[in-house]
Symmetry: C2
Subunit: 559 residues, 2 copies
């Protein structure tokens, strides 16, 4: 069967941190049987995707090859790995495999999207094996910042590949399984040399070894113990271990605990129902918490990334669910700022500062540890697994490149494989065998649109340039009826010289229409083009901008 091959192709996650979606295949070229690893989302921003709700990988290629998909595996329940399940599953319709907690979150995603959940299968950790066409797949527990994260051991007729998923080397992760170096050593050897290690690259630029989740308990308890007013802490809703550490510190300081935020309550409930979270302190409902004095209460809240609709932002703005922060209260960010979210987070910090609240962040690293393996940890895993090839994933291009450079420095074959690049993994080094169109799909309201469809481009243009709307009515005889009518959106009413912008445009349009040849007036496209030209020129003179223009030409018909 020498004409069969083992392939790997990222569709999302190799070129950004977010919207993870990786494809493995085995079989004859073009007929490989496929498995998909993760269906995640990325989050929009005003700069590049205003108004968009979620960003996900473009799975058009997978959809075209749907009959070849054997299974979808979800490594863990972070949004960037599972968030697109409800939206993209209807296009792929393959069985979905995940561990218990991840499956519980996945079921919620499918239900929210109105999809059936019977394709979703709960799988136990290794040595449990899921057969998917030519593949045999095992979930290997790893430590991360959410329970039940897993790497995947992917066995094919060509040999073994290990897909790390997101992980860190934590021997005491508070909730969930520790990272087990002996097991990783074993899976690196039990089936001969591993062909490829597809490896998390997020923290490749962090030079110090990562720290354990367990190191946070003492400093957090000490911080909270010192305070007398209301204590509020925020972290990622899915970091169940952190929630437990925070809640236990609050209890130790004699405080009742209340969780605010839908996502946080959902995560804790799922973790408790699936049995992976035990011993979490009792929590009050928001209604009960209103009755507790500030000195006896700790709120653990969503919104550590500055999200405007989450509890942190709401508390920074004013009274929220009966609580109003004031001088002497403590607000702890047990989190780091994901690059790009600085403005939103500092907006909250400044609003809290205005209220006199003491804001404590991760400065110094006392109150937060990362969920990803740092550079020396990555190197340790390379050595534990000892693969033939290292394939960096889960990173922007700069992360992937740095990770590949680390491998190269050790004589380990590697390559920067970005979204849409298909490589063959059978040999001594990765070989590019194809390129596939790999873009982004936006969830916009309830509609999936392509990132390059022009919809978002038009929004950005309107935001940058403002909009002029021109209405021209042409009568039955082909003559302009009255003057053109101009409406402005997102443009100043008056220009630098103090003249009314819309009136100037109407005047210039009237002059233009009065002089325009009948032939021009009769031609929709040309008239539209010339109206836009006149309007833009007037705008440039009056306000120094060239706005977007929409021109509606209404032609009255002889009855």
């Amino acid at each position: 069967m020498s004409d069969e091959r083992l392939i790997y192709m990222p569709l999302g996650g190799a070129g950004e941190i977010g919207m993870n979606c990786y494809v493995y295949g085995y079989g004859r070229p073009g007929e490989e049987r496929l498995i998909v690893v993760d269906l995640g989302v990325a989050f929009p921003d005003m700069d590049s995707s205003p108004g968009v709700d979620l960003i996900m990988a473009d799975v058009a290629w997978l959809e075209e090859n749907r009959s070849r998909i054997e299974a979808i595996f979800i490594t863990h329940a972070h949004e960037d790995h599972i968030g697109a399940l409800g939206h993209l599953w209807p296009r792929l319709r393959a069985p979905v495999y995940a561990r218990k907690f991840t499956a519980a979150i996945g079921a919620g995603k499918l239900e929210e999207a109105g999809q059936p959940i019977d394709a979703l299968h709960v799988v136990g950790p290794r040595p449990a094996v899921t057969e998917a066409g030519p593949f045999k797949v095992q979930f290997v527990p790893v430590s991360h910042s959410i329970p039940e994260s897993a790497g995947l051991v992917i066995d094919s007729p060509a040999g073994r590949v290990i897909h790390t998923g997101d992980f860190k080397l934590d021997g005491s992760p508070v909730v969930g399984e520790p990272f087990n170096p002996e097991e990783w050593h074993q899976i690196g050897r039990e089936a001969g040399q591993v062909l490829a290690l597809t490896c998390d690259s997020t923290n490749v630029f962090s030079p110090a070894p990562g720290r354990s989740e367990a190191t946070l308990a003492a400093p957090i308890a000490e911080l909270i113990g010192q305070h007398e007013g209301l204590v509020v802490a925020t972290t990622f809703a899915s970091n169940v271990a952190r929630l437990k550490t925070l809640a236990e510190a609050g209890r130790a300081a004699g405080r009742s605990i209340c969780l605010l935020g839908r996502a946080m309550n959902k995560m804790v409930t799922a973790a408790q129902q699936t049995g992976i979270l035990t011993g979490f302190p009792p929590v009050l409902t928001p209604e009960q918490a209103e009755e507790v004095g500030d000195q006896n209460l700790m709120l653990i809240v969503t919104g550590s990334q500055g999200e405007r609709r989450a509890a942190s932002a709401a508390l920074s703005r004013g009274k929220y669910l009966g609580h109003e922060l004031k001088e002497g209260d403590l607000f702890l960010f047990s989190s780091k700022i994901i690059p790009g979210n600085e403005r939103g987070v500092y907006r909250i910090v400044n609003a809290l500062s205005e209220k006199g609240v003491e804001v404590v962040d991760d400065r110094g690293g006392l109150y937060h540890v990362s969920g990803h393996a740092n550079r020396p940890d990555l190197e340790a895993v390379h050595e534990l697994v000892n693969p033939r090839i290292l394939v960096p994933m889960h990173g922007e291009h700069r992360h992937l490149r740095e990770h590949a450079a680390i491998a190269a420095a050790k004589g380990l074959a590697s390559a920067v494989v970005t979204n849409g690049t298909m490589i063959s993994l059978g040999g001594d080094k990765p070989v590019v065998v194809a390129h596939v169109e790999a873009g982004r799909t936006y969830l916009d309201g309830t509609v999936l649109i392509g990132a390059l469809d022009g919809v978002v481009r038009d929004r950005i243009r309107m935001a940058l340039n403002g909009l002029v709307l021109v209405t021209v009515i042409i009568d039955e005889g082909g003559e302009p009826l009255g003057d053109a009518w101009v409406e402005l959106m997102g443009l100043p009413e008056k220009g630098a010289a103090g003249r009314d912008l819309a009136e100037e445009m109407e005047r210039d349009l009237s002059e233009f229409l009065a002089k325009a040849a009948d032939k021009l007036i009769a031609d929709d496209d040309k008239l539209d083009e010339q109206v836009k030209r006149v309007v833009r020129q007037t705008a440039l003179v009056e306000v120094g901008k060239k706005p977007e223009v929409v021109c509606v030409i209404s032609r009255l018909m002889a009855e």
Copy 2:
């Protein structure tokens, strides 16, 4: 004269880092004679100010009290201190005082804005004194990240105030004057106890003492000396000392130097013409640089903050002025990322990474030092000056609050005084005496608009929600003529169910118009309101969004 008072009021810079504008006054309440310190800008972002060119303090209060303004002092030539001079001076029309280099940059700002430059006066450093009504003002040289930065010693009949401007404690700043602790000790004592120290707060959260500009020369030279391909370095255009350090390192490595970017050439020229920059290595024109081999060339370029139109971004995208970066080239960010600019900077880093360029940033602090005093440096200056009151400025609320807390911990009177708050400085502690409306003014194209005028709000709404444009024609008899016409901007053409969105809206509008009472159709406001309601409802059903709607109703008149 006990009924006269000394007042301080920030209009910009005390609540953000940017758009600095501070006012001091002395006289009878409401009749104080005023001086203005700095007229700076802040920079827009897509989140809060899309399409805006520059942000500046709202000087409406100053304009109303123009006859009371004795002078405008500019501490240094950074954009956040001088950038609004050309735009706001016409509203204030007071004499402007600055040191030589700052005045050269200021003259350019006035000329660009078509303003005369005869109000601009060059002032030497202390002991030179500028009299401005009841004030006597001296410029005290300080080290910063631009030449000729100055603090101001402001003497009034009530006593002395010191306004630090932006500064760091640098004894070896490479270009310009070192910070002179003896002089600061003296100005803190020669006129009795200083009433107030108005003090830079930018780096109050940086716990280690600041480092000197001179520490960078060796590591930068070593880095550049190791490389064989093209070397490109970026930093702030105004950091003339850094430009010199970079250029000298390039020369030492046998490379010719070329500066790319308008702002950078302008700064170096101004620094050379005013005599403050000497010994800068010879530079090639871009045309000459095209003829030099990569191994013999170093480009020093603008755009360290990711600005899309600057040279760094252009080089990351492809060929620029004859240069195309490739594998083996070096790109050095001799700069830090100002919070909020991460996305733009990483866009460039990733694009360079795709080209195989080695990108080196400030990680580790080897290649960049800050221009602002860190926490221990601020404390040192508090002690040197020993004022009665500390007034933190140049910071977001969180910075001002932290700075005030440091003072309070030492028993030094302080207060967080934000934009628009007027305090009296005569006593043992600051006393709030008034609040003034203090907003933001936007330069949008060539027009100054208010931040709350609604223009930018409409842009943000169009960007988030998309826009529907509806045209309805009502005939002479008061009946709708034909169907309503719908145009979409920034909305998907088809809804989740696959129906054409504009057609659905037109259909629903036709149904609505057919049923609408004559009285409703005759009423522009009501018809507009109902059309919008119908369109939004259709959009919600089809695409799950509520768009902005503009409705143009054209009524044909009987002839």
